[in-house]
Amino acid sequence: MDVRDATLLVFESSGPNAALRAMGGWLGECVGVRAAAWFDAEGASAGTWPEGSHPPAWLAVAAAGVAEPRVQAARGGGDGSETAAHEVFAAPLGDGAGALALLGPAGAFADADAWARLARAFGEVVERERRFRQVVEERDLLRQRAEESEALHVLGLAANRTLDPDEVLTLVARFTRTLLGAHYVTVNTLAEGRIRTVAAVGLHADAPADDPFAARVAEARKPLTLQAEQASGTVPEAYHAAEGMRVGLGVPLALFGETFGALVIGYRRPYELAPRDTRLALTLAGHAAVAISNARLHGALAQRTRELERANEELRWTTEAKDRFFASMSHELRTPLNSILGYQSLLLEGVVGDVPGPARSFLERANRSTRTLLHLVNDVLDLSKLQAGKLELVVVPARIRAIVEEAMATIEPLAAARRIAVEMEPWPPLPPVHTDADRVRQILINLLSNAVKFTDEGQVTLSAVYANGGAGDGTGQKWVELRVADTGPGIAPENQERIFHEFEQIVGATARGGTGLGLAISRKLARLLGGDLTVESELGRGSTFILRLPVRTDGHD
């Protein structure tokens, strides 16, 4: 049995103290070692054998600063138990691990290599223990960070459950208090140059005043701390001194580069702020910042919505007022205009005697202008009725061909005056259409009249098509299409929709007369009848207006 057995025991031990016990027991029995001590790098006793014994100071001195294993005579401790018959073996244990010292009988440590190996083995156990502790600490740290992340995640989920910024900020303040073990927490925001406490937990004051410390944090845009002064025992900020703060931490509330407040955490006890506290506080401040930012965006959105609703309401009122005005005025104008027209006709027909040549010419001009005015008034009245949804249709089975012929007859004088031929293409068999014949006629007259007015050379053609299913709408609906084609100047693509707008006339159109309402009214009427009015045109190659009417098939005419 020798020191190598003790070395083996040391290797097999679970830690330095167990190694010290195993080694001491073995060596005490076999070699007569009386004491063993392990000193840390600072020279403090880290473990002894026999357990619970106190190593004499001279043993610590022997181990202090030892660079190589060495044996030296024991210097008695005064109680007479250690004499010159004893020696001390001391050896370093490696980087930062301290030293090992053994007290044994003289000559016990003669095999220097064997004792050095024992010391190295012990040093390795110490190092193993140190690494193990380090791993455990790292594991605990990682676990704690994971727990913190989970908790912050939970806070985020809870905060997402509400749009109420007060609720979110109070939630953040309360959670911050317990996660950071603080006495109180305030959330402060900057508005119009002032800092205001918008949420708080744990404050003694009922109505918190403005917090200059929070303002400083927001201005500095970085974490700041407050510490109680030695002399007064309070912090040098009246707001927080009144709250009994001993230690404080403030972090800015910032989002997308904008700082708009501060989160302040107060401790009423001495407390050593750790980097963890600042890290967590910044994360929590992020939650508060998001809540504030969301609240601001939400507020701005709500304000804009209110403004738009107000504007919309005004617009609706204005439109209704306009419609009322047009309807009323048109009605009021029509009666005197009809009266004027009547008297003019009587005069022109010579009911009150012959009208001399020049006077007749003036009278005819006045009569034409009056008719134009009446036409405009009728259009405005139709339009206002359409817009107000008050135009009533009289839908009955109608023969389209008859309607077309009536419209062509109406337009004939104008066509003759302009020397434009209006022709009807070969007529296909068409079923009767359930529609308002007067309104269809009105549309056709408008289309034919426009075609004649805008055609300087050539002709106007009217054709009809009986179509199934329309433009592939898959409904099985049948349609009649009436096409009014002219050989006029055509309409540029960008104007093809504009011409259907009220009071819109493209360049050059005004010279040809009209109110700018005809097509708008015609399209509205067509749609009211369940159909549509569209145009196909190419500049320089004329235009074709297509009136589409739905058909309920009862037979062909």
């Binding site: 727990e147 809870a158 459950r161 939630l171 309360r174 959670f175 208090r177 073990g181 009423r268 006890r269």
Partner: protein
């Protein structure tokens, strides 16, 4: 050869007592706390004496012996304060709050929790801070203030994360998840139950695990994760059987009944509910919840009188237990069912 066993230390006895307490073995826990207290007095270990008294009081509370519990906890506080053990005194105040709570004296209980929290913050005792806030959360919950309960449970999680007390954090997650379930925040509830389960599994906290597994089934059913719900109920039942937790088993049976009802197996649902009522035979929140589930089943069967009776039984039991929020919620559910089933015609 005769061997002598070293006498158990007050600490060791208290540790054993705590283990029994966690398992719900109240008699054994009370006896061990009592032995621990005597040993602590003999050794002059005042902190342990105060703690053992507090532990004994907690066990008495579980047995509804509130007067005795109050005496012990007052004594614990007295001892602690005289010895300058502020932390022990603060913990005694917290236990006093629990006694008030069990006696349905909400205001007094909240005041105790507030004091305990203040002291905990002064002492930097994060674990006690977490307990005090969590207990306040329980009061908010039974009073029906679910959002406040949710906030308080969240605060308690913050404190337990700080203190590193995984066991308490697990309980806090369970409570938070229950509040979220009642708020119909199903996804969150599932996340929190899952988190509580992770922590409890790490700690091998079987009694709490039985509850967590069982409770998690409710949000899973609501989000239509039926397979997972069945699985977690089976786990809950296995653990609850192992630790002998009849109330946790009753909850499992109640939720199995719901699953059966939802798949249209009315007879199976009724059988599970009968079993649940047997398991939760004494007045408890779990028993009230079984009545509530029974009402849903009877409504599905168009058995109107029994539906009304079940709702009324649940509501009455909640009210008796002081759970005014749940009682109100049940009464509302009854009124809604009534209005839907028997719509009143317009008076001419």
């Amino acid at each position: 050869m005769v061997t002598t066993e070293a006498p158990a230390t007050p600490h060791a006895l208290a540790a054993d007592a705590f283990e029994q307490e966690q398992l719900g073995h109240w008699d054994a826990a009370a006896r061990l706390y009592s032995l621990s207290f005597r040993a602590a007095v003999l050794e002059g270990d005042v902190p342990q004496a105060a703690e053992s008294l507090r532990g004994q009081a907690r066990v008495l509370i579980q047995e509804d012996r509130f007067d005795e519990a109050a005496e012990l906890v007052e004594l614990s506080r007295e001892i602690a304060e005289r010895a300058g053990l502020l932390q022990a005194a603060a913990r005694a105040i917290n236990v006093l709050g629990i006694i008030y709570y069990r006696r349905q004296k909400w205001t007094a209980a909240n005041e105790q929790y507030r004091q305990a929290l203040e002291l905990a913050l002064d002492l930097g005792d994060d674990d006690l801070a977490g307990l005090a806030v969590q207990n306040a959360g329980v009061i908010a919950y039974v009073r029906g203030d679910l959002r406040e309960a949710r906030s308080l449970y969240l605060e308690s999680i913050g404190a337990f994360v700080r203190s590193g007390n995984t066991a308490n954090a697990s309980m806090a997650y369970n409570n938070l998840a229950i509040a979220c379930s009642d708020l119909h925040e199903w996804l969150e509830a599932d996340i929190y139950f899952t988190r509580g389960i992770e922590l409890a599994e790490r700690q091998q906290q079987s009694p709490l695990l039985a509850k967590l597994y069982g409770n998690r089934a409710e949000p899973l059913i609501e989000i239509d994760e039926i397979e997972q719900a069945v699985e977690t109920l089976d786990r809950g039942a296995a653990v609850a059987h192992a630790v002998g937790d009849r109330l946790a088993l009753a909850d499992v049976e109640r939720l199995r009944a719901r699953l059966a009802r939802l798949r249209g197996d009315i007879d199976d649902a009724a059988a599970h509910l009968e079993l649940a009522l047997d398991l939760a035979s004494k007045p408890s929140l779990e028993r009230a919840s079984v009545f509530r589930e029974m009402a849903l089943l009877r409504a599905a069967q168009s058995r109107y009188d029994e539906t009304r009776d079940a709702y009324l039984s649940a509501s009455e039991l909640y009210r008796t237990l002081g759970a005014v929020g749940l009682a109100r919620d049940t009464a509302d559910a009854l009124a809604a069912w009534d209005a839907q089933t028997f719509p009143r015609s317009e008076e001419m």
